[in-house]
């Protein structure tokens, strides 16, 4: 059996990986925005609620969360959670907590002078956020969102442990069938790498667009790693 005979299997696995990644990213994005914005308001009760969410869901690994949703939750509710859904939920909740910190930090980084200008123009708090603060914070959020998307994609490999046939699951199966362990895993790793590069390509494009909108010179390619990655790693499992 050559690698090309196996390609359809891998592509099928990659499809599941992509599906879970995109689903997880969508959920994580909604959570990040909501919790991040709530975490940056003046009301101390709302802010505390956002902080609790962030600490709890950053504190638990996505894998543990997924096992809990998949194995424990049905015992409480009586409903079995679809494995793919449990995975998307776990990854989204977990990465969403990191994303919320990113959003909150980016909102805080918008110069206070911009807020003051919105007061002078008599905008409502909602208008301030929607028309001025978020559009400016967006450019700052994007690089970290990109890193988080990669972390989420990597984290999605844990779904193979609850028998979702993603890339990792396919590699595991081929290992047991074919015995060519090195090929089985190398092929999976390369496909993950390709997906990551494609994701990064889109994020970079969005970054350039956001910078142009703010009239900034196209920024140098953002580096992964350093402090940003420090805040980010652990986003997945």
């Amino acid at each position: 059996m050559t690698f090309f005979d196996l390609l359809p299997l891998y592509l099928n696995g990659a499809w599941y990986t992509l599906l879970i990644t995109l689903g997880g990213c969508a959920l994580a994005f909604v959570i990040a925005m909501t919790v991040g914005i709530v975490g940056s308001v003046r009301n101390p009760v709302l802010r505390a609620a956002a902080a609790v969410y962030v600490e709890v869901f950053r504190g638990v690994a996505a894998l543990v969360l997924m096992f809990w949703l998949f194995y424990a939750l049905p015992l409480v509710t009586g409903y079995r959670v679809e494995p793919v859904f449990a995975a998307i939920l776990a990854l989204g909740l977990n990465v969403g907590a990191y994303g919320a910190e990113n959003v909150r930090g980016a909102i805080k980084a918008v110069p206070r002078a911009q807020y003051e200008a919105t007061v002078a123009l008599n905008m409502t708090p909602v208008q301030r956020m929607r028309m001025v603060i978020l559009p400016q914070a967006w450019a700052q959020m994007l690089p970290t969102f990109g890193n988080l998307a990669i972390e989420l994609m990597k984290g999605s490999a844990v779904v193979s442990l609850i028998a979702v046939s993603d890339l990792t699951f396919v590699a595991q199966q081929l290992r047991t069938f074919s015995g060519d362990t090195a090929l089985a895993f190398t092929a999976a790793l390369v496909m993950y790498f390709i997906i990551a590069q494609v994701l990064l390509f889109f994020v970079r494009m969005a970054e350039r667009r956001a910078d142009r909108r703010l009239g900034r010179a196209p920024a140098k390619p953002t580096r992964r790693g350093g402090r940003i990655a420090a805040a980010v790693k652990g986003g997945g499992a």
Binding site: A117, L121, N122
Partner: protein, 273 residues
Amino acid sequence: MPQSDNLPAGAAGHAPGEEPLIRFDKVVKRFGRNVVLRELDFTVDAGERVTLIGPSGSGKTTILRLLMTLERVNGGVIWVNGDSLSHMRRNGRLVPANEKHQREVRKKIGMVFQQFNLFPNMSVRRNITEAPVHTLGISREEADQRAEELLDMVGLRQKIDAHPTQLSGGQQQRVAIARALAMRPQILLLDEVTSALDPELVAGVLDVLREIARTTDITMLSVTHEMAFAKDVSHRVLMFDQGRIVEEGPPEQIFGDPHEERTKEFLHAVLEG
């Protein structure tokens, strides 16, 4: 200039019961232990142009920021057109103002900042039209037309679709003035609007402000170090030091014949320095 000769020099000149447009009533402002304003009393009438001068840290900018509700008073009351900025009447009693009340009072006030504070995520056009459309509820077409008129006035009509970062500091500040005026404020606060500009760009901005002073009856409260400009446009100059008014009077008197030693020192330092 609108009836500058008839304008009273201060609160003392008011007919009894007639409320000035702005009234500071024993206003106290502290930052931590640092007392910036000490029981400050002063009034500004509708249409009056008042310039605040004084050394840095004397509380001038704080007065503008309090009026714009960017800061809260620690004591006393600021009245604008008979409404308190910090309090509102409910069932005949004064209670702390909510956001809605503050927005109602703020409607009358516009501000131009030292650092322009244009929105970098919007074109010049949207910088000027966004707030009128969304907070005053006027139509896009009307807001656009108004933006064009205002840009004509500040001499930047051709820059309407430019991005703020493509403009010089002086041009940005002129756009910021147009943006403030688009809200049709009764009161315009000017906070050291030329301090951040390169020297050769100052004149253009001051000319625009002179033009506004000449053609409108908007009430202007400015903090500036441009003494010639202050002399040209103001009806009254207030000299501040350490949170108090040291001296006030018409510009001719303050600049030509200051009575107080502190004023003389300050003017000497500014004009000679």
